[in-house]
């Protein structure tokens, strides 16, 4: 009926409703956990034009680019908040661009997202925000949820703020609570949308340390969207390990030896560069040089 009305109105048809999705096939361990294939999206103007990339399990991809280059759109597409006009997006074997809201639910359970400003629910306390997904799942008792929430708040260093409201928190604290909320269900994939933008250098370091911890200690695959080059390189060159219950960082100074982090630069919706931090730093491309300067 809606399509008929849209046809009468001369508007482009909406994407066809997704056919019943077959259960996602088991993914080989070396297959990418996220795969973009020739993805196009336009609103009034082109936003993404033929973007393709893979994210291997346990690795980090840093997406760089100026404002309006389509960085955040990539995250929204992975989460199924937007649908591409063309191309395919596979998340752990599921084609998210063909799934409806119900079908997307199990895919979204595998993903944790840290929004740019935190996107905490104003009407809920910090504890309720962090435990929201666990309550919605309905599989744990209240005591279990509280235990897990307190543990996660301890991980981000905000355990005493359990009963506070989001309006009482600083910008950095909001970001860390958002971090805890995204991590509480132990996702396989973490997406970060400008997690350090607008924060002071000390809080930035706290956030980047958290990102590294999650990557190295839990083996979580992640995509980091940012235009903060300093933080992006810090994440690439810092590794975290645990000794005697303590988290210890190891910083690699020589970028040419780094593994596990790939940089991708977008320009006007197209991939301008893809490679290692060392390749980015030594690139001859005029735009990249200007961006890095």
């Amino acid at each position: 009926m809606r399509e008929t009305m849209r046809a009468i109105l001369g508007l482009p048809p909406r994407p066809a409703p997704a056919p019943p999705e077959p259960p996602p096939r088991a993914r080989d361990s070396d297959e990418p956990i996220i795969s973009f294939r020739d993805v196009h999206l336009a609103f009034d103007h082109p936003v993404l034009q033929g973007v393709s990339f893979d994210l291997a399990p346990g690795t980090t991809k840093v997406v760089l680019g100026g404002s309006g280059s389509g960085k955040t759109t990539i995250l929204r597409l992975i989460l199924g908040l937007l649908k591409p006009d063309a191309g395919s997006i596979l998340v752990d074997g599921s084609e998210v661009s063909r799934l409806g809201e119900e079908g997307l639910r199990p895919v979204r359970l595998k993903i944790g997202m840290v929004f740019q400003e935190g996107a905490l629910f104003d009407s809920l306390t910090v504890g309720q925000n962090v435990g929201y997904r666990l309550v919605e799942d309905g599989e744990m008792s209240e005591e279990q949820i509280e235990g897990q929430v307190r543990e996660m708040l301890g991980f981000v260093g905000l355990a005493p703020l359990y009963d506070r409201m989001p309006s009482e928190l600083s910008g950095g604290q909001r970001r860390r609570v958002a971090f805890a909320r995204a991590l509480v269900a132990r996702p396989q994939i973490m997406l970060y949308d400008e997690p350090t933008t607008g924060l002071d250098p000390i809080t930035c370091t706290t956030i980047t340390d958290l990102i590294v911890k999650v990557r190295d200690l839990d083996g979580v695959s992640s995509i980091l969207v940012t235009h903060q080059l300093r933080d992006a390189f810090n994440i690439a060159r810092t590794f975290m390990f645990r000794r005697n219950g303590e988290f210890l960082p190891r910083v690699v100074e020589d970028l040419s030896t780094l593994e596990g982090t790939e940089f991708m630069m977008l320009r006007q919706g197209q991939v301008e560069f893809r490679g290692s931090p060392h390749e980015l730093q030594t690139s001859d491309d005029a735009y990249i040089k200007e961006f890095l300067s």
């Binding site: 009305m5 109105l9 508007l11 908040l81 809201e101 639910r105 740019q116 996107a119 905490l120």
Partner: protein, 270 residues
């Protein structure tokens, strides 16, 4: 070769056509949202805590303005009608007139307009803020359906509380009319209330309770639709709030005419 006038008309035609298409699409989206919201009321999962919070916000917290509006409307109605009825020596009919006016028209309409101003705008502002701060996206990512979580409880609260508030408004309005009749128009208490009871028939009650149901649905669904369609940051939130009050108020007033017309056909006044 087209003249400048022809080109101007062509351009105007295109813009008009585009505007018309967008309006029709907006109505379509509004109807879909309302239908999905109503469907979510009768299918699980339901959010009972959210419903109770909305009933408190929409109903209990609106009680004072509804009581004040109803009281003064009933009082002014008694004063005005007495002045007109005196010309025909029909002052004793004041109670009848106040009762019928309040129950059939003024109670439902004024209550709905007051709740629209207080709560409908609040719904649009709250949901609009959630949109611009990405809280709606966060809800979806965390596995909740915003229609079930946010829209359905607001629709249910309005469907329950607006009729109850209207009953309060009617009662207080008729009581306000009685105060003026006794202390200002020198009618007796018994005479006024006998006149009220004689005036009230089943048709009045049907009309008086059906209208608030429809008005409740309009004010809540318009508030939710405007809020969820917010764009453009905090300025957009302000715009959505204003639009929700204007659209809901005009829709309530215009639908009142059609509901009255329909009910008068279905239940003719004896």
């Amino acid at each position: 070769m087209a003249t400048r006038t022809q080109l101007l008309f062509l351009s105007l035609g295109r813009r008009l056509s585009q505007h018309l298409k967008e309006s029709v699409l907006a109505v379509q989206d509004y109807i879909l949202l309302t239908a999905q919201g109503l469907n979510a009321l009768v299918t699980p999962p339901r959010y009972h805590q959210e419903l109770l919070a909305q009933m408190d916000s929409l109903g209990v917290q609106s009680l004072s303005i509804v009581v004040l509006t109803g009281m003064f409307t009933g009082m002014v109605l008694a004063l005005q009608s007495a002045a007109s009825l005196d010309a025909f020596g029909a002052r004793p009919y004041v109670g009848r007139l106040v009762c019928i006016s309040m129950v059939r028209e003024l109670g439902p309409v004024l209550t709905a307009l007051m709740v629209t101003g207080r709560v409908g705008s609040g719904m649009a502002a709250e949901l609009g803020s959630m949109v611009v701060t990405q809280q709606i996206d966060a809800l979806r990512v965390l596995g909740s359906d915003p229609v079930r979580k946010l829209v359905a409880p607001r629709l249910a609260a309005a469907l329950i509380m607006v009729p109850l508030l209207t009953i309060v408004s009617d009662t207080v309005g008729i009581f306000g009319g009685s105060l003026i009749s006794i202390f200002n128009l020198k009618l007796s208490w018994e005479f006024y209330w006998r006149s009220v009871m004689n005036a009230m028939v089943m048709n009045d009650l049907v009309m008086g309770l059906l209208k608030p149901l429809v008005f409740g649905l309009i004010l809540s669904s318009v508030g939710c639709y405007m809020g969820l369609n917010t764009s453009g940051g905090t300025q957009g939130v302000g715009l959505s709030t204003t639009r929700s009050v204007v659209v809901a108020s005009v829709t309530i007033l215009s639908s009142d005419f059609f509901i009255t017309k329909l009910l008068l056909i279905l239940f003719p006044v004896a």
